[in-house]
Amino acid sequence: MVVQDMPHGTLPLLYTFHFYLFGIIAIVSALLFVTRKSPVAAALWLVNTMFSLAALYVMLDAQFIGVIQVLVYAGAIMVVFLFVIMLLNLGQGVVGDARGLGWKLIAGAVGVALLAQIFALTRSRTPVNLTLPAGYTAQQVERTGAITPIAGPLFNEYLLAFEVTSVLLLAAIVGAVVLGKQRGEGDAG
């Protein structure tokens, strides 16, 4: 979404409309996700949230992350979740999965309190002097492509962390295999 022509604060109405639209979709989907009894339905609503988030990422000039979001989260992780749900045959909503009404009310109050605190903090603690000029990221994407802005730091400043991530993934794979293996099978063979 190229907005470099526009000075900050005067984004096109269409852009703003879409931003709000996807945001609201994400929130509504999330609400539906937590309230569904059936895990399958819940998972699908979560996928919906993630798609919306991907759209928001793209609109925030993070096209690469948006793609990854669709591929990894919506595409891979959530599919694994669905697989597991089906594998364990949990498709039907378990009666009484959610806690009692009292707990729900308290949880809602906690959620509101948390929200209020986060708002209070975001209002007071957003640094202004570090802010890049409006449209800088978009211009960078225009100039170098969507991958380069993230690839640069990833393979320079954060190279070690990036490599360690591969070790983390390897460990996760090994761990998942070990945990998922049937007990006794390993002993037998």
């Binding site: 945001g23 937590v34 819940a42 990854i68 979001q69 990833l154 945990l179």
Partner: protein, 97 residues
Amino acid sequence: MLAEALFFSAVLFAIGVVGVLTRRNAIIVFMCVELMLNAVNLTFVAFAQSYGAAGQVFVFFVMTVAAAEAAVGLAIIIALFRHRQTVDLQNINLLKG
């Protein structure tokens, strides 16, 4: 759009928290955690637009960790289900010494 993105992010995070607090199905709780991670990712991306692309790198890492976590976590849930025939957290108290 920073303020709006942060607002959405906060709401999504709070929904995730409420989900963790109210649901007992281990898989749904897990998914709520994923939702919270996504909310944080949105914050990162929003800030990355205003403060530099390093924030996106963090999103990348968060996704990696989330993937690893999903793999291990779901494997644990499967192993747990094999033992207990349930994923209801109320029936699982192995953490009690």
